[in-house]
Symmetry: C2
Subunit: 411 residues, 2 copies
Amino acid sequence: MGLIVQKFGGTSVGSIEKIKKVADRVIEEAANGNDVVVVVSAMGKTTDELVSMSYDITERPSKREMDMLLTTGEQVTIAFLTMALIEKGQEAISLTGWQAGIKCEAVYGNARILDIDTEKVQSSLNEGKVVVVAGFQGLAEDGGITTLGRGGSDTTAVALAAALKADRCDIYTDVTGVFTTDPRYVKNARKLYSISYDEMLELANLGAGVLHPRAVEFAKNHHIPLEVRSSTAQEKGTLIEEEATMEQNLIVRGIAFEDRITRVTIYGLAGSLGTLSTIFTTLAKNQINVDIIIQSMTEQDMNNLSFSIKSEDVSNLLEVLEANKEMMPFQRVETETNLAKVSIVGSGMISNPGVAAEMFAVLAEAKIQIKMVSTSEIKVSTVINEKEMVTAVEALHEAFKLDERKPVEVL
Amino acid sequence: MGLIVQKFGGTSVGSIEKIKKVADRVIEEAANGNDVVVVVSAMGKTTDELVSMSYDITERPSKREMDMLLTTGEQVTIAFLTMALIEKGQEAISLTGWQAGIKCEAVYGNARILDIDTEKVQSSLNEGKVVVVAGFQGLAEDGGITTLGRGGSDTTAVALAAALKADRCDIYTDVTGVFTTDPRYVKNARKLYSISYDEMLELANLGAGVLHPRAVEFAKNHHIPLEVRSSTAQEKGTLIEEEATMEQNLIVRGIAFEDRITRVTIYGLAGSLGTLSTIFTTLAKNQINVDIIIQSMTEQDMNNLSFSIKSEDVSNLLEVLEANKEMMPFQRVETETNLAKVSIVGSGMISNPGVAAEMFAVLAEAKIQIKMVSTSEIKVSTVINEKEMVTAVEALHEAFKLDERKPVEVL
């Protein structure tokens, strides 16, 4: 007996048939004697269709009105799922974000949750009902309906779990858990049964795509155990918690990778103290996310600066640099596209200073040139040629023995 | 300078193109210096699609969840229309029913408006914004989202107009106004430029279909002038107000008609005092609407009773009568289908007792047999054979000179 928050994403509720299956999953958990709160996203492609229609009206839709529009998607899903639960004999009630007491900043399109008034959810649970909550949305301080931005339904689920002091938050998705690396690319990729918040954060930020970093961070701060599970297969998923005890011996827990990376080098940058700050503030203001940064002093008062960005941002970047050249003078810009980022992640690295060296050795042996490097306490990232990405991941996966199942794992 | 409430129905907002045209209509009114509140329905067939999907889940969808589902329809429209207004340079804000302060009974699927807290609408108007409100919906006393049942968006518009003390409430629709009779059947049908609330109520209840009776009644009780106008054509519509002064001379204002009527006769009904009350209470409980009722005493303690119902209710009626036979004993039931109801309406009748007689004479001359008659102060209804319906309407339209334009009319 406990309180479980379950979250089902857009693919899991993509059709009426799938919604009926989700209802079975929910009832299963309730039949175990648990109180269940279910958070759902909009059905499959609903959001994309609504967005596309709004662009037939205007190139720059009002963010407030876009939120008004898109939040109908989850409202449709909660109604359908609740109907399905009732049809199957399970008492249930649907609640929109505002009905569930989810209070947000009035930042349309990308609001953060400020507070959750759980009274209505709690009283409905007390009446023996499964509570079905619309993810991705909340009530803004100005009375408007806001969305929480990317990965929003994950965040709704974790925030509700924290506010309700839930025993667990299960994230149902179209994969069966978190893997040592992407199984679509590396056939030996193995499902992890346990991973720490910090490791998951690095993997999430590095593009593993299973779980939104914001949700992981929220879970970490509020000590909510997360489990990533398959919405279709009946098998154990990946538990994300404080310390991943079961596989403690593993130095490297997983390998993340991302293609379509571009390295940008700015030559002959005027070397005043504020230049770096000016550049990166300007880029951030223009929604250009910079990842790895390398600065090397070559001449007196003249710096060369390299950083990596997503290839899709290159044209925007070049425009922004040109437009602001007066504020931050430079000689020329070079870009190198068709690169990829490959990273190894594991909290065991903190006490193993040789891990980065081992990674470089593995890549060298595979004759892969490293173009950039960045390290944190629990990860090492390298930028390499895109066409060598999978080879690199496979070599690292084997070298760090990620395909070997540890005997301490429990199914 | 005044405050205008405009209402656009599902057909008027059936596509993005149509929504853009509605935006032009709204801006036109705002450009005249008026404060404008716009009430809209769901886009065209949205509601039907959602209903059909819910029946793939369950044969008996929860009414609360059905309301949760269907209210997304208007929420989509308000977002799109507000985006279109902003794109065209008009400041605007969308509000759902609950955001617009529309408070309802917790009767899902068919709630009545209890009160409107106009604070948010008023403050948005004060900021110079057009306020776009989702019709057909409100906030139930228990915190749920309810719909107002049939004709709900008309009611939202009129109720908002009353609460805001609006100068006028314009109902935009796919016809250009209220006609002397249905122009699809009678080519000489003529648009009325003025009609009283009571006349409109009789016409609305008699199936004229332009405006929901509930909305007309609300307008009458709160003295809100209504205008029925075309959402596409630029022409004067029909003004509905206390006294239709401009065409006062007309004794008959319009002719309403409805096919698919069945006459039911119950023979040998036990004649105790409570029998009639028992019958009609039982029918009402089973959602069978009885229209014209004729009772004739034929033998001691044995009554024959006739009434008209919609043909679609016949099978349900026969079941209900059989199931309750013990409570209200009778000998046998006869039904006559393929009938129609034709009614003349006009407040001038009150002072013209001969109007009913004239109607009967016109029908007799056309060799049309009258099967049932019912009269009120401002209308006379007759039930005749369905196949003679249009002939009857044409004969009456001509006899009462409804196709002659009066010189006092103002364009």
